[in-house]
């Protein structure tokens, strides 16, 4: 399955929902937010959002800024 994560297309196997995606990516899940097809997904819904071919996912967090 090919989805676009943070602007880059990636081939993803054996991942069905956002919760898994985060886990596989090795992200702690703290202090990040996910946009799925331009909708912000609350953390407690991550395991309800199924990934599909062509989906766009943005995973963002805070960094230092002025």
């Amino acid at each position: 399955m090919r989805i676009k994560i943070n602007g880059r297309f990636q081939d993803i196997k054996d991942i069905s929902d956002l919760q898994e995606l985060i886990r596989i990516k090795g992200l702690s899940g703290k202090a990040i937010v996910i946009e799925h097809n331009h909708n912000i997904i609350p953390k407690d819904k991550w395991n309800e959002v199924m990934l599909e071919e062509g989906d766009t996912v943005e995973i963002v967090s805070f960094v230092g800024g002025g």
Binding site: N6, G7, K25, G26, L27, S28, K30, A31, I32, V33, E35, I40, P42, E58, I59, V60, S61, F62, V63, G64, G65, G66
Partner: protein
């Protein structure tokens, strides 16, 4: 002397806001903030970098600080709005520094898109501080649209050139009802003091502190300078002459306006 800055529903003892970008070692940020008594810090929002460690900038910020998310990276109103909404989803509250920058070289803001984003986000309940090119008329529009403060630049971001926009900023200070906070370009404590002596309500400093040989000492120096300038303004500011008003070169009568007298 009680001298509290109020923005939206919050009160600030400290008139030095600090940006968290560019610190070579992020762990110093907490000490910087404590050293200067800062109560308002800015952070940015970016795509996670999977390769970097799972560092969270928020961990370095004392819990009693207001965290204001800037919309850096936004090139137009829509992108700024999207960033603001994501920031809120992350549980960071409602404080947003709108920053819409289509220009990559001088990082100068787009006042029109800034105004558009402000209108939308205010209606969604955000507290907006608007980074802007110094401009009285746009600043009034921003205030009317609900911006909690305006943040005219002193010089291009990170240039350290100092407070180079005094002429228009002084007029803004005199004419606006919202706080005026000089943001960007200040290179030294004397610059910050000059902003405060002119009557600005606060300054936001990032680069000059972050790249200092000793960010903690430098932050203290800026805090001292901000207090010094503010005190001088309170003691003498009202005695200063207002900026010289303009004097039309075209006649001020006979305008072709409906419903007007000749």
């Amino acid at each position: 002397m009680s001298d509290i800055l109020r923005i939206a529903d919050r009160s600030f003892d400290s008139r030095l806001f600090v940006g968290t970008g560019k610190f070579p070692d992020k762990r110093v940020i907490g000490d910087v903030i404590k050293a200067c008594g800062c109560q308002m810090v800015t952070v940015a929002l970016r795509r996670v970098d999977e390769k970097s460690d799972d560092e969270n900038i928020l961990d370095y910020i004392p819990s009693d600080c207001i965290i204001m998310i800037n919309t850096s990276g936004a090139r137009n109103a829509d992108e700024a709005i999207r960033i603001a909404r994501l920031a809120r989803a992350m549980g960071c509250g409602r404080w947003i520094k709108i920053e819409v920058i289509p220009d990559n070289k001088y990082l100068l803001p787009d006042n029109v898109e800034t105004l558009k984003a402000t209108e939308t986000l205010v209606s969604e309940g955000f507290i907006l501080l608007a980074y802007m090119n110094p401009d009285l008329i746009i600043a009034r529009a921003l205030a009317k649209a609900g911006a909690a403060a305006v943040m005219p630049l002193g010089a291009p971001i990170g240039s350290g050139r100092g407070f180079k926009t005094k002429e228009i900023v002084k007029i803004m200070v005199n004419e606006l009802d919202v706080p005026v906070i000089v943001d960007a370009g200040l290179g030294s404590p004397a610059d910050a003091a000059a902003c405060m002596e002119l009557g600005c309500d606060a300054v936001l400093v990032n680069t000059a502190i972050a790249i200092s040989k000793d960010p903690v000492m430098e932050a203290k120096a800026f805090d001292f300078a901000v207090n010094a300038g503010r005190t001088h303004y309170i003691l003498s500011g009202s005695a200063l002459p207002a900026p010289r008003a303009a004097c039309a070169s075209s006649p001020l009568t006979g305008f072709l306006r409906d419903g007007n007298k000749v």
